[in-house]
Symmetry: D2
Subunit: 308 residues, 4 copies
C-alpha cells in the first residue's frame, strides 16, 4: 500500500505483550492487533514508548514488527519507532524495521548526548536521506528532555524531510502552531499523542491521534475521532470525558513503589488481560509489576467505563 | 588478570577515533592506547560518554572492545561502557563487550523511561546477576537525568552488587558521602569523572579518576595522581590548575552553532590530531565538526599547556 | 459589589505603564483601564506577572491598586496579585491591596524556598483564613517552579479556601481535570491564563480567560469569549487564530540580548503606545528595552491584525 | 569599621529565632550572636536563606538587622541579605538594611521573572551604583533557578561592582574558576556556602565559608578554617568529616511530610534549642515543624558530634 499523505485517524501505539519469561508473546500481540483493527483504527504504531521500545532488545523489536506487519498485510499502515540515542544507532534500527515490514519510521530527537537544534535538524535530514520509508518526528520531551520547536518541525516539513509529527509534549499551544503552520504542507500529518485532550487537538485541526489508552478502549477513540470529524463537539466532549476518567487507571501503581512507566504500562497491560485480549500482564525489567490490589483498581476503572 | 579490588589510579575514558567515513579507525585507536599506556595510566575505559558510545553502532562498539582488549592483552584493566536505556538492552551489551574482552562493565541508571529508585536498584542487581565481570555504576545525571543517590550506591556496594562507581555528577558533597561510606567496603572503588576537581576528589579519599581530558594529557593526570598519593598538595594544585586551563579547549566550539558534546569531544579529537596521536578529528553524527578557526583555538590551549 | 461566584469572562492582567523615570504612570494606567472596560471585559486583574508585579515596589503596587479600584468604583471586579515568596510576606500584601480596594487576591505557590505540597496547602489555608476577600490560586510554574496539582486545588476548592484558579501552566490536560473536578463546586472559577488556547479552554468548560494579550486587543478576546459562549466554534477558532498570529509580537525582542519577560512585556507596552493607549513603553529594571527595529516588528504584527 | 577587602574567615548565615507567635525573638537572636562571636567567627550574615529571609516580613527583616548591628557594634562585619525578585524591590531592601546598620548587602540573581545574563549584569550594576555599602553576589540556583556564570561574576569583580561572591551552588569546578579568576582582583572575596566541602573549597583558595551549620557548631568551622590556613589538611579533613556527619541532622524531618527547608532549618533551630542557645525552635509559615521524634533524631546527631 502507499503510505497515506497525510496520515489521519486513530493510530494506537501498541502495547507489547510479554510472556512470563519476558519474551514477546506473539499470539497475544496478534490478538491485540485484531482487537484494534476490529474497532476501526486507521493505523498501527509499534515500538513506541507505550510499546516499551526502550526495554525491548533488538531481536524483540524485530519480532514485533515482523509479526504485526505480516499479520495486517497492507490492510492499514504500520509505523515503527526506531528509538535510540543518535543518528548512527537510529539508522541501524531503520534498516531493521523496514526490512521487517514497517511502512514509516517514528524518530525522536537525539538523547543522552547534549544536542543543539542544528544537530537535531541534521539528525532528521540524515535519517530521512537514508530511510526507504517516510519519517515521522516524535516529540516526547518527558523521555528525551528536549522539546522539538514547532518552527524546526515545520521547516523540515517544508523541505519534505518529515511526513508528520507525533506530539506527546502536552503543550497544546505549540501543537496549534504546528497545525497552523502545516496548512502550507498538505501531505504533512500533525498527530497528538495525548489521551486526555485528543478532542481539543482534533478541534483545532489535528490529523489524528496516537493515544496509548486506545489499546484498552479503541472503540472509544474511534468514536471520538468520528464525532470530531462530524463536528459533533458535544458528543466528542462527553466521549473524551469518559476516556479521561478511564485514564485514571494509569495511576493504579503506588508511586512510593514504582515509577510512572511501571504504573501506566502495567495498568494498560492489566486492563488488556482483564478484557481477555492478552495472556499475561508482565512488563519488561526493571519495571515493577502491579500488585493484586493495584490490579483491582484497574478493574474498577474498566467497570466504571463500561468495559468489563 | 584479576580485576583489581578496588580499582585505583587514572583510568581514561578513551576517545573513539573515526575515519572520514565515520568508521572506527583502529590504527588510530591503538596509537591512542599506546599513548595512554606509555604515560602510565592504570586502566582503560572504552565506550563511555567521551568515547561517543551513544553514537556508535553495536558493530562499532564491538570492534572497539576487541581492538583495545586484544592490544593491551591483560597488561592493565579494560572497562567497557554498556550504555543503553534499560536492563534487557544493557544485558545484550554486557554479553557483547565481555565476549570481546572487557574485564568490567560500566552501567548508568536507566534513561528514556521514567524510573523509580527501586527500579534503579533492580536494574543494577539484575545486571550484576547476569554479568560475568564486575559492574561499576556510572553516575552521569547530565546524560540520564537522574542522580544516583549515594545511599543507593552504597547499599549496592554493601551487597556486593557493585564493584565501584564513576561519579560524573559534579556534586563533590555527594561524592564525599560515597567516599566516607565506602570505607566500610574495602574492595569498592570510588572514582571521580571530573577533569577539574580531581585533586579535591583524591584529597578527600577517591580511589582514582576517569577524566576525559586525560586523552589529551595523560602525563598530567598521572603526575597529579602521584602527587596526591604522595601528599604533595601544593604540587597537585599547581598541576590541576594547569589542567583546568587546558580544559578550556572544550569550549572551542561556538555554542551558537553546536551542542556541548560536539564542542568538547570535537576539541579532544582535534587536540589528539594536533598532537599526532590520531589521524582524523571527525566526530559521529549528528555532531557538528569544529571549524578551522575553532581548531586554531584548540591549538592555542595545547601550546599554553606546553603540549605542542 | 459582591464578588461574582464564579468569576467568569475576560479578565485581563493589566500592564503597568511607567514613566521614563520608571514611576507608575497613573494617567496612562487609567486610559488602559478605560480601553479595557470600553471593550467589554468582565474584570480587571492588577499586579499579576504581566503587570510586572515582580518588579514593582510595595509603594508602586499600592498606587496601582488605589488608582484602578478608585477609577472603576465597583463597576467590575478588581483582582490583585499578592506575589511574594511565603505566607508572612504574602499576608502583608493582602493587607495592603485590600486596604487599597482589591476585591480578590491572587496567590501563587511559595517560591524561593523548597516546599512540600502539604506546605502549599497550608500556605493557601492560612492566607485565606486571614484575607478579607476571596483567594484565587495562581498556577504559574514558569515563575515559581512548582505546578499546583489539580487534586490539591480541587481539595481547597471543596473546603471553601479557594474561590478560583488562574492556570498559566500551559498544561491543558491538567486544566481539564480542574474543569471536570470543579463541577462539584459551583461557585469555583476555573480560568485559563493562556493567550493561545483560550478557545480550547473555554470549549472544555473554563469559566473565563486571563490573557496578557488582552491588553493589546481586548475586543478580540471579548469577541472570542462571546463566540465560545454562543457555541460558535468555527468563529471562535478563526478569532483565536488571528490572536495567535498577533501573539507573535511577544517574540519581537532579540533573545540574544534579552530574556522572555523583557521581550513579551516590552512588546505589550510598545503595542499599547502604538495604539495610543499609554504614553511610554518603558519596562522596569533590570529588563532590557526594545530597540527601534524591534518596535517596528511589533507595529507590523498590529497592522497584520488590523489594529493600527 | 572599614569593610574588609577581601572578606575572609567563617561568616555564619544566622538563623532567625522566632517566638511561638512567630515574631522575631530578639533576646534569643542576641544569644545566638554571642554564641557565634564567642566561638571566633569572622563576620555575621543576617537575612540569608538560612535566616528564613524569604519568610520574614519587611518589619521583621529590619528588626533583625537593627538588633544584630546594634549588638556587635562594629566588632565584626555584619552582612545582610536583600533577597527579592528584581532590582527595584532589592533597592528598597538595600535602603532599609543599610539604614539599620548593615555593612554589606548580599544579592541574588533576579528570580520569578525570566532573565537573560545581560539583565543579571544590569541588576548587579544598578544595585551597586545605588548601594552605600559593598555588594556581594549570592549564587544559589536551588532557590533562584539560575546559576551565576563564573565569567559574569568575575567581570563584575573586575569592574569593581562586586566585593565578593557567596557560592551556594555546590559546583566546585565552577567555584575553582572563581577562585582562579579572582587572583586578578585582590580585594574580591570568594566564599563557599557549603557545609560539606568547606575544606576542599579552602584548599583550593577560597577566602572563607558561610556555612549554615555553623549556627550549630561555630567552633567546628572556626577550627576547620584555622587548620586549612595552617596547611593542616589531615586535621581539616577529620574536622570536616565530623561536621559532615553532624550535617545529617538536616535530614531529620520526614520528606513525606515536609520540604527540605522545613527539615533543615527546623533541625538547625531544634539543635540551637537543645544546646540552650535559643528559646523556641519554631520556623516561619508555611513550614512544617519537626515532631518530637524528629527532634530526638537531631539530639542524637548532636550527641554523636560531642555537642550535647
Amino acid at each position: 500500500m502507499t503510505f497515506p499523505a497525510p496520515l489521519t485517524g486513530v493510530v494506537p501505539p501498541l502495547c507489547t505483550p510479554l510472556t512470563p519469561e519476558r519474551e514477546v508473546d506473539v499470539p497475544s500481540l496478534l490478538r491485540l492487533v485484531d482487537h484494534l483493527v476490529g474497532a476501526g483504527v486507521h493505523g498501527l504504531f509499534v515500538l513506541g514508548s507505550t510499546s516499551e521500545a526502550a526495554f525491548l532488545t533488538d531481536a524483540q523489536r524485530r519480532r514485533v514488527v515482523e509479526a504485526v506487519a505480516g499479520h495486517v498485510g497492507g490492510q492499514l499502515p504500520v509505523l515503527a519507532g526506531v528509538i535510540d540515542m543518535t543518528t548512527p544507532r537510529v539508522l541501524d534500527h531503520v534498516r531493521a524495521v523496514t526490512a521487517a515490514g514497517a511502512e514509516a519510521v517514528v524518530v525522536t530527537a537525539p538523547f543522552y548526548a547534549r544536542t543543539h537544534p542544528s544537530e537535531i535538524v541534521h539528525h532528521y535530514r540524515r535519517t530521512a536521506a537514508l530511510s526507504p520509508v517516510p519519517v515521522i518526528a516524535y516529540d516526547i520531551p518527558v523521555a528525551v528532555h528536549t522539546k522539538l520547536p514547532p518552527e524546526l518541525v515545520l521547516g523540515l516539513a517544508g523541505d519534505g524531510v518529515l511526513a508528520g509529527v507525533k506530539d506527546s509534549s502536552g503543550d497544546l499551544a505549540a501543537f496549534r502552531e504546528l497545525v497552523t503552520g502545516a496548512r502550507a504542507h498538505p501531505g504533512f500529518a500533525v498527530l497528538t499523542g495525548s489521551e486526555l485532550i485528543a478532542d481539543a487537538a482534533l478541534a483545532l485541526g489535528a490529523d489524528g491521534a496516537v493515544p496509548g489508552l486506545a489499546n484498552v478502549d479503541p472503540h472509544g477513540y474511534v468514536r471520538l475521532y468520528r464525532q470530531c470529524r462530524a463536528g459533533d463537539w458535544e458528543g466528542a466532549r462527553a466521549e473524551q470525558d469518559r476516556l479521561c476518567a478511564l485514564f485514571g487507571l494509569t495511576g493504579a501503581g503506588d508511586p512510593a513503589r514504582m515509577g510512572g512507566s511501571s504504573s501506566a504500562l502495567g495498568a494498560f497491560k492489566a486492563a488488556l488481560r482483564l478484557r481477555g485480549v492478552i495472556d499475561c500482564p508482565v512488563t519488561a525489567e526493571p519495571q515493577v509489576p502491579l500488585s493484586g490490589e493495584e490490579t483491582e483498581k484497574v478493574a474498577k476503572f474498566l467497570a466504571s467505563a463500561g468495559l468489563l
